[in-house]
Amino acid sequence: MLEINVGENDIIFLKGRFDAAQVETAKSHLEKVTETCTLDFSELEYISSAGLGVLIATYQRLNKDGHKIKLRNMSKLVRDVFKFSRLDTLFEIE
C-alpha cells in the first residue's frame, strides 16, 4: 500500500510500497503537481521500476515548463534501486 500526503511547504511525503499495483494511485496524486516539488522518501519502504517510471514521467512533464523534482531522505535500499537504474545522477537527490 502507498500513501501520499502533502505536508508543510508543499513537500510530498510517500509512505509504504511504490510498486506496480500502486501506479494509478501515485499518478492520480502526482498529476496534480504543476511546479517544482520535493518528494520526501523517509517512510518509503520500497520502490520498483514501475515506481521509477511514474517519477520519470512526472519529471518529464514538469521539465517541459522548466520545473523539476527533488528527492530527499531515501533509505539505502531505495537509493540502491536508483543507483542500479543509473538515475541517482539524473535526479536531484538530497
Partner: protein
C-alpha cells in the same frame, strides 16, 4: 519449499508479497535480501503480465533456501520464448528528458541478483534467480 500458483494479473502481486514475507520470516533473512526478493519477483512477474498476455496458464512461483542461497523460480505456462538473460539493456545514455523505462526492471534483476537462468520447454518459460545470503 514455498510455492504459489497465481493468475496472470497485476492484482496477484499482493499474493507474491505475502509469500515472500512468510519466506523471509521463516528463514530469518535480512531486510536487504527481502527487498531484493520483492523487487526481482515484481519485475519478473509484471514482465510476464505485460508481455505474455496470450499466456494460456497460470504462473507458478517456487522459493527455496539451502546452504545460504535463496532460489526463486517462475514458471510461465503457454507462452512464447523470451530469454531475459539476452534482453536488450535500457538506454542509459538518454537524458532524463528522453528516458524510457523499458527494460529497466529486467536490468535491475540481473544487477541485483547473483545469478539469473532461463529455460524454455513445452511452451513454458522458466526463470530462476539466485541470491547468496550471509547469515
Amino acid at each position: 519449499m514455498n510455492e504459489l500458483t497465481i493468475k496472470r494479473e497485476i492484482e496477484s502481486l499482493e499474493l507474491i508479497v505475502k509469500l515472500i514475507e512468510k519466506f523471509v520470516i521463516q528463514h530469518k533473512l535480512d531486510n536487504q535480501t527481502s527487498y531484493l526478493l520483492n523487487l526481482s519477483a515484481e519485475e519478473l512477474f509484471t514482465n510476464m503480465v505485460k508481455y505474455s498476455r496470450e499466456g494460456t496458464g497460470d504462473i507458478n512461483i517456487i522459493l527455496s533456501f539451502d546452504k545460504n542461497k535463496v532460489m526463486m523460480k517462475f514458471k510461465d505456462h503457454g507462452v512464447d520464448e523470451f530469454d531475459i538473460t539476452k534482453a536488450r539493456e535500457p538506454d542509459f545514455d538518454a537524458s532524463l528528458e528522453d528516458k524510457r523505462i523499458g527494460g529497466l526492471g529486467i536490468h535491475l534483476v540481473k544487477e541485483m541478483m547473483d545469478k539469473v537462468e532461463y529455460e524454455y520447454k513445452d511452451r513454458t518459460s522458466i526463470i530462476t534467480v539466485f541470491k547468496n545470503v550471509e547469515k
